[in-house]
Structure formats: structure tokens, C-alpha cells
Amino acid sequence: MSWTPAEPMVSIKNVHKSFGDLHVLKGISLDVMKGDVICIIGPSGSGKSTLIRCVNALNDIQKGSIKVEGIEVNDPKLDKLQLRRKVGMVFQQYNLFPHRTALQNVMMAPVRVLKQDKSIAEETARALIKKVRLEGKEDAYPGELSGGQQQRVAIARSLAMQPDVILFDEVTAALDPETVGEVLETIKDLAEDGMTCILVTHEMGFAREVADHIYFTDRGIIVEHGPPETFFQNAKDSRTKEFLSQIL
């Protein structure tokens, strides 16, 4: 299926997802254009994380359609590996591979999955580690790094696969307050480079600063959305207002 950059890179249409009896997503639709940075905010348990985990098929959906560059995710014949080469993901708990050094964490997937030449992959990995400002930590094991440093390695690891879009699943939620800034800074760099990003976050100030579009979800639906200026200043829905008043 051919896809052109004029179409949304990620197109989510009327997605429904249940875990058993628990109806988590109740018809969510949103489009992400190439180079967009979108933030999904909302109270805990509103389905934000589930939604982005559906985008790279970590969770399956029961109804609706998710297309990533024209690849239909809700398709029993989906080539998950092909999809996941296009979609990177960074997790709340970093999930680095603890038995490998920072450098190996970054270069392993390109070598094993993309079959890149080892020396080329290493060169790229070193450049990426430098980009996330961790020069000198190449040979450190994840256990020797702070949370913020681990999360930046995780971002570099994701970037090494040269994805077209990266999903960020509450990537600062498990961090110490003093290291949140360095991770957000790294994501901001990416956004400025034109990387397409979908973020689930509780960092409102950050969302306001980098997002092109903000979606507010509650109880499995999108309650309100808009560009940050209008969203934060002129929220119309009462649930959005209540949420924002609690957070800001």
C-alpha cells in the first residue's frame, strides 16, 4: 500500500479496545502528520498508554483502524516486524537490556534486526549517544546510570532503528524530578529535528512548549483537542477544565 507524506503518517479511526469486560478505548480517532508532535494528556486510567501501545501492536484492538504509513495494524496478517521498524517506542520504565552496555543497547537492534554492518552501527550508535548528551557513558551498564541517563539511552536505542515515528509512554513519570528536565530536553531536540512524536505525558509545561496538537482523553474517549494555545487557555469541556485546574 502506498503512502504519501500528504496523508497522515499515523491515522487512528474509531478504535475500540477492551481488556475482558473493561472497555478501555471507546472510539478514538486522531491523525498525526509527518513531523507532528502530539501530546495525549488525561487522568490516569483514561486509556492514553493503551492507545499508543496499540499503534505498534503491543496491544491489539477489537474494532476500528490504525494505519501507520498505510500499514493497517488491525489486520490478522499484519507483519508486526515491518510495522515496528517504522515505529519506535520509549517506555516509562526505560526497559534497557541490563546485561548489555549503553552502546550495545543502542547498536544491537540495528545489527541484529536491520542487519547493518557492525562498524557502521557502532558509529551511528556513538553519534546517537553523543546526541542524547551521554558521551563517555558508552561502556556503562544500565544499572550504573541514573534514571534520566537510562531513559536517554532508551531514546537513543529507539532512534538507532531510524523510525519514522516515536511513541513516548509517560517517559518521565518514573524519573526523579531533577532528571526530568534532561530527558525533556532530549525529546525537544528530536521534535526540532522534525521527528514525528506521539507523547503520553503529564508534563503540561512541556506539552505546551513542544506539542503541535494536544488531545485530552478521559474514560476512553477524546474529550477535547486543539493546538496548545487554545487548548490551555480556552478549554471548553468541564472535564478538561477540572483536569487542568488540578494539574496546573
Binding site: 503491543l58 515496528r84 526497559n95 541490563p98 546485561h99 544499572g143
Partner: protein, 278 residues
């Protein structure tokens, strides 16, 4: 952080000063050995008798008994190797995505894990032929080979559980991270999951080996010429003198203790060493 717990994995470990793995000192063994071997010997020496003292009888037989013990160790190595290979495969079968493989591996594992070792040994002894026809060649199948096979069955089942447990004990985030980097399931297992499992599996695996080594004497019941069988024969040929029983069996206990105790200590040391690496 320090936890109030009796789980070894939760205990705080000091990475800079791991306890030496042999907390064993010579005097640990000596009292036991002395009592077992010299005690009856000395008692005997005090009574007047022209017969050879138990200690010198034991010394005469010691080389043969040591050979028998070496045979026990060979049986333990081979049964462990065989059981580990098959058990490893079975353990991976238990986490297969194919329901048929998963369920049948589970069943085989549970069946052999909940069977008495001696019964399995008897099964192997009497159900396996004494020779097999492999590609037209008659390959003899001696008792000790059957014993290895019989003992490898419970090892296999336990290794299978160790593998499954270790894989399950890893946080699911490791799988998800690997999946989202487009690793295939096989790559995920081989590159991400299993390397992290090795150190989790090592202590229980060594524990199992220790238990297996001690269980090799079961082979005496089915007539393999290992250390217990030889001891019985030696005692019989000495005319069944009752004062010989304690030194002879004490000697065997000592051999197993000297071999197995360091393994147990090493296991504890490994558990402590790995406790702080998550």
C-alpha cells in the same frame, strides 16, 4: 535500603566484599571424619583382637571405593548434561506460543517432576533393552547407561521448571522493549531473555546437581557398580564384621560431603553475588 526478608534474592549484598565462596575450613570436616572413621577404629583397638583393625581394612579398600565414587560422579555428570539439554528444550517448550507444545511440555515436566526418582530409575532399568540396534550395529546398553538415562529424567523435569521460572521472572518490559525494536521471538529469547536468565538459573541448577549427585547411590539398588554397591561387596568379603559398617559408610558420607558442601557454598555465594544485579 534493607529488607526484612528471608528470601536470598532480596537480601542486601555488598558488591565490594562478596563472602568467599568456601566458608569451609578444614576443621569443619575433621570432627565428622574423625568420629566416623577413627571412632569405631579406636574403640576396636582398645579391645584385644588379633584381627586387622577397621581403619587398615578401610585403607585397603579405599582405592576401590574411590573408583566407585568416581563412577558416581561420572553418572552425575552425564545425567546432568543429558537432563539439562533435554530439560532446557522442554523448558522453552513450556513458554512456546504454540498451545500444543506448551501444554505437552508442561505435562511431561509435571509428570516427571512429581515422580519418585527411584521409580524412574527402575523404569529405565527394566524397560530399556540391554542392547539396541542402531543402523544395523548392535549397541550394548549397559546398566550404568540406563542409570544415567533414568536419573536424567527427573533432572530434565526440574531443569524445565527452572528455565520456565527464570523466563517468567523477568519483567515483561524486557519482552516489550525487544518486540518494539522488531526483534523476532527467537532473537528476543536468544539475545535478551536467556542471557539474563542464566544467572537466575545457575543457583537452582547447581542445587539440583548436588541433589542428583547424592541420588546416584540409588543406582546401587539396580545393581550398578557404584560406590554403595562396592562398599556392600567389600563388607561382604570382609565377612560382614559389624565394626566395619560405621567406618565404611562414614567414609562414603565423608566423600559426598566433601564433594557436595563446596557446591552448596558456591551456590549461596552466587546467589549473593547476583542478588544486587537486577
Amino acid at each position: 535500603m534493607s529488607y526484612k526478608t528471608d528470601l536470598p534474592v532480596m537480601l542486601q549484598a555488598n558488591p565490594h566484599a562478596p563472602e568467599p565462596f568456601l566458608g569451609l575450613k578444614l576443621w569443619h570436616i575433621l570432627p565428622i571424619g574423625l568420629i566416623a572413621i577413627f571412632g569405631p577404629g579406636l574403640a576396636f583397638a582398645q579391645s584385644t583382637n588379633e584381627a586387622q583393625s577397621p581403619l587398615s581394612v578401610l585403607l585397603d579398600w579405599a582405592p576401590l571405593l574411590l573408583k566407585g565414587f568416581a563412577f558416581n560422579l561420572i553418572i552425575s555428570f552425564c545425567a546432568m548434561a543429558l537432563g539439562t539439554i533435554i530439560g532446557g528444550i522442554l523448558g522453552l517448550g513450556q513458554i512456546s506460543l504454540l498451545a500444543v507444545t506448551r501444554h505437552s511440555s508442561w505435562f511431561v515436566t509435571q509428570f516427571f517432576r512429581n515422580a519418585p526418582w527411584l521409580v524412574l530409575l527402575f523404569f529405565a532399568m527394566f524397560l530399556l533393552p540391554f542392547e539396541m540396534n542402531i543402523f544395523g550395529f548392535k549397541v550394548p546398553f549397559p546398566d550404568w547407561l540406563k542409570a544415567i538415562f533414568g536419573l536424567s529424567l527427573p533432572v530434565m523435569a526440574n531443569v524445565s521448571e527452572i528455565v520456565r521460572g527464570a523466563v517468567r521472572s523477568l519483567p515483561s518490559g524486557q519482552w516489550e522493549a525487544a518486540e518494539s525494536l522488531a526483534y523476532t521471538r527467537l532473537q528476543t529469547l536468544w539475545l535478551i531473555i536467556l542471557p539474563q536468565c542464566i544467572k537466575r538459573m545457575l543457583p537452582p541448577w547447581m542445587n539440583l546437581y548436588s541433589i542428583l549427585t547424592m541420588a546416584t547411590v540409588l543406582a546401587s539398588i539396580v545393581g550398578v557398580n557404584e560406590v554403595m554397591t562396592l562398599t556392600g561387596q567389600a563388607l561382604a568379603s570382609e565377612g560382614g564384621r559389624p565394626e566395619l559398617l560405621a567406618p565404611f559408610y562414614g567414609f562414603i558420607l565423608l566423600l559426598f560431603f566433601i564433594y557436595c558442601y563446596p557446591i552448596a557454598r558456591f551456590t549461596v555465594w552466587l546467589e549473593k553475588k547476583y542478588a544486587f544485579i537486577t
